[in-house]
Homo-oligomer: 117 residues x 2
């Protein structure tokens, strides 16, 4: 075992001019998949709806694609679903992060074994 | 070229119970190598000395090793140099981050080419 359970932790962001996609947007998207609403998604992660909306619009603008389809009207007000591109981006980002984590852990064990000697 | 120059950016932290080593500590250590003083290192990155000292002590405590040798006294007051373990940790961390960045960029090009279609 590693001394003090020492381990690496990666944060993976996508940048254009500016940060545009990362764990925060990915979490919101996965919660929209679950709740079919950006408002409910924001609430589920303790974020103001206005902030979630701004983050999502910024991501869409920087990436040059729609991530959410808004459904308006009806008895229960508007909802949201992921576009096909939003679903693909979330799935590929999740897979990408998982692969990078696996690689970082293997390389950590290779390079930092001396920390436990 | 990638649409909007889209690219991944990793942040690599080491955790025990708590965050204990990452780009901030690594930058401080490299500035100590340059300036031979934690106070001058802190100033060079616009950080209060007290904060730099706290970050460094926390890292040393969590990692269970000294990173800095303090040299006290003399006409010009105390200075600091890296311990051998501090030097090795900084070099290995830098190399680790470089390798992870190279891997993340290669994998990004492989997985996200559809974003440019």
């Amino acid at each position: 075992m590693w001394k003090n359970n020492l381990r690496p932790k990666l944060t993976v962001q996508f940048y254009t001019q500016d940060k545009c996609f990362g764990p925060g947007v990915a979490l919101l998207l996965s919660r929209v998949q679950e709740h079919h609403s950006l408002r409910a998604a924001a609430m589920s992660v303790g974020m103001a709806y206005s902030k979630a909306w701004t983050i999502m619009k910024h991501a869409e603008q920087e990436l040059g694609m729609r991530l959410l389809n808004s459904t308006t009207g009806g008895k229960r007000g508007g909802g949201a679903t992921l576009t096909l591109e939003g679903e693909r981006l979330l799935a590929d980002y999740t897979d990408y992060v998982n692969q990078l984590n696996a690689h970082s852990e293997a390389l950590f064990q290779e390079k930092f074994s001396w920390l436990t000697e």
